[in-house]
């Protein structure tokens, strides 16, 4: 027990985590509480540290491929996309257009899967047990589609330097189109069950405020940044792959509260559907894997590559001394920066609100710890 000299009120410390139902992994938040009010919230990270960057330095680029998918296991494909893009940028290998299209389609499917998981888990944090089952029902469809082409359900190792490991076929296209139809019709259900629900609105609206200023100071990216009104999305601002060929919008919000973040994420799913639809329509023919030398040496120098994952900007920075393994590999993960403003955000909110904010941040803990 410590005493706060200002108002002679007693405050005490509460450990939320590392095992707690709503930290979604081994995150610990050290809370200074005054009754149910959170006076200060300090995230303590590192419980799931796996030395991802060091592993990258001790492995060839090929060897790091499976690891890149284990950064953010909920949306693994965009993470792999980043790493593969980095190697391609360094070595000058180019993937054939069909492969780029497939990369975009699968990445966007993965983004939808990630957002659906978030939606369910977020509502679970708010105490609604049923929506997660509905979102899982939808997410299962995505996973089935992705499993068909990549061979796994969660930690895909599908992208290769110079393309993708397996071509998509006609059934894949059909199933994906069916899924687009299905998800579009399901948005109504989510609106009825969640978006309009008075309890939900009261729980998330105007509780905490993300401001553009705060977001910039902490390097917050992704839907949270966009909810404050800043139109920043790597897919538009620093386009990679074939994203410039598609017509899609970057949803932005205005108020920057948690309800706005929620709305931005839902609208992002709709935009992802649009991208997938266009990509399927224009899918070029051709090979999906360019010829690459068996033993690939990284040229001397450095390069970086950023992608927009479901959570925000993920970027790799690699320095090479010309050997087979990188000299240094730095990974910037979005969840880490998105978690950082927690202590500033959650002053004098209730414990329930803190749980809600943690849910809004959409954290993947191993991605924070790397």
């Amino acid at each position: 027990m410590t005493t706060n000299p200002d108002n002679q009120q007693q405050s005490f410390f509460l450990n939320m985590g590392p095992q707690h139902p709503s930290t979604h992994g081994v995150l610990r938040v050290l809370l200074e509480m005054d009754g149910e009010y959170v006076r200060d919230a300090e995230p303590v990270i590192g419980y799931g540290h796996r030395m991802q960057e060091k592993l990258g330095e001790s492995r060839t680029w090929k060897g790091f491929m499976p690891y890149s998918a284990r950064l953010d296991y909920v949306g693994a494909l965009p993470c792999s996309h980043g790493f593969i893009g980095l190697i391609e940028r360094m070595t000058g290998i180019e993937a054939p257009p069909r492969a780029e299209y497939i990369r975009v389609i699968t990445s966007e499917l993965n983004r939808i899967a990630s957002h659906l998981l978030w939606l369910g888990a977020f509502l679970l944090d708010l105490g609604a047990f049923t929506p997660i089952m509905y979102t899982f029902d939808d997410r299962e469809q995505v996973l089935d589609i992705l499993e068909d082409v990549t061979g796994s359900r969660l930690t895909y190792c599908y992208f290769r330097v110079g393309g993708v490991s397996r071509d998509i076929d006609e059934p894949f296209v059909e199933k994906t189109r069916a899924f687009i139809q299905r998800l579009r019709s399901r948005f109504k259900l989510y609106d009825d069950l969640v978006t309009g629900n008075i309890i939900f609105i009261k729980r998330v609206q105007d509780i905490v405020q993300f401001t553009p200023d705060m977001a910039m100071r902490y390097g917050v990216t992704g839907p949270i940044l966009r909810s404050t009104g800043i139109r920043y999305d790597i897919r538009k601002n620093e386009p990679y792959s074939v994203y410039p060929e598609f017509d899609f919008e970057i949803p932005v919000g205005e108020t920057g509260d948690c309800l706005e973040v929620y709305r931005v994420r839902l609208r992002e799913m709709e935009q992802s559907l649009r991208i997938i639809e266009q990509a399927l329509d224009r899918l070029p023919q051709g090979p999906v894997l360019a010829k690459t030398p068996r033993q690939l040496k990284l040229p001397q120098g450095d390069a970086s590559f950023a992608v927009e994952t479901a959570r925000g900007e993920l970027s790799y920075y690699l320095i090479s001394d010309g050997g087979e393994t990188p000299y240094r590999l730095k990974i910037r993960t979005p969840s880490f920066s998105n978690l950082s403003p927690l202590s500033e955000l959650c002053r004098n909110v209730l414990l329930s609100d803190l749980v809600m904010v943690l849910g809004t941040l959409d954290l993947v803990i191993p991605e924070i710890d790397r």
Binding site: G63, P66, E147, G151, G196
Partner: protein, 146 residues
């Protein structure tokens, strides 16, 4: 005052709409499968642990013990042992073991094999009581398969 009642009204309505959604779910059939009794067909592209494939024409595996897979595996989970039998010019495979506890199912070994000797199985029921149960002897496996 007006706001007081409109909130009450809108709130109640939204709650009833929500109840409607779950009620419709109550009447629609379950989407899950009763797993151990019912199984869904698994995609042929599924990546289970790796296997040595049996060549239809020769009835044997195609591995030439070149060690490419062992060298390329990022998780160091493959051990290939090949010996030159007396009088032969080429090495022959004498043991191929896969430590599946460390395999990340990346598929690099399958792709780099010069003779396409490897493929993925469609085994997904993997529960076992000991760690050793996941140390697969692939050579023995391929010789046992019909």
């Amino acid at each position: 005052m007006k706001q007081y009642f409109s909130l009450l009204f809108i709130g109640t309505k939204s709650l009833l709409v929500g109840l409607g959604v779950t009620f419709r779910a109550l009447l629609s059939p379950a989407v899950t499968v009763h797993y151990p009794r019912q199984k869904i067909a698994i995609t042929p592209n599924f990546r289970g642990h790796t296997l040595l494939v049996k060549d239809r024409s020769t009835g044997r595996h195609r591995c030439i013990a070149c060690m490419m897979c062992e060298r390329n595996c990022p998780s160091n989970c493959i051990t290939v042992v090949g010996e030159k039998p007396e009088g032969a010019t080429k090495k022959a495979l004498t043991a191929y073991s896969l430590d599946f506890t460390r395999c990340s199912l990346c598929g690099i070994c399958v792709e780099c094999c010069p003779t396409q000797a490897l493929d993925f199985s469609d085994e997904y029921e993997l529960a076992a009581f000991s760690r050793e149960a996941y140390h697969y002897n692939l050579l023995e496996q391929v010789e046992k398969t019909a």
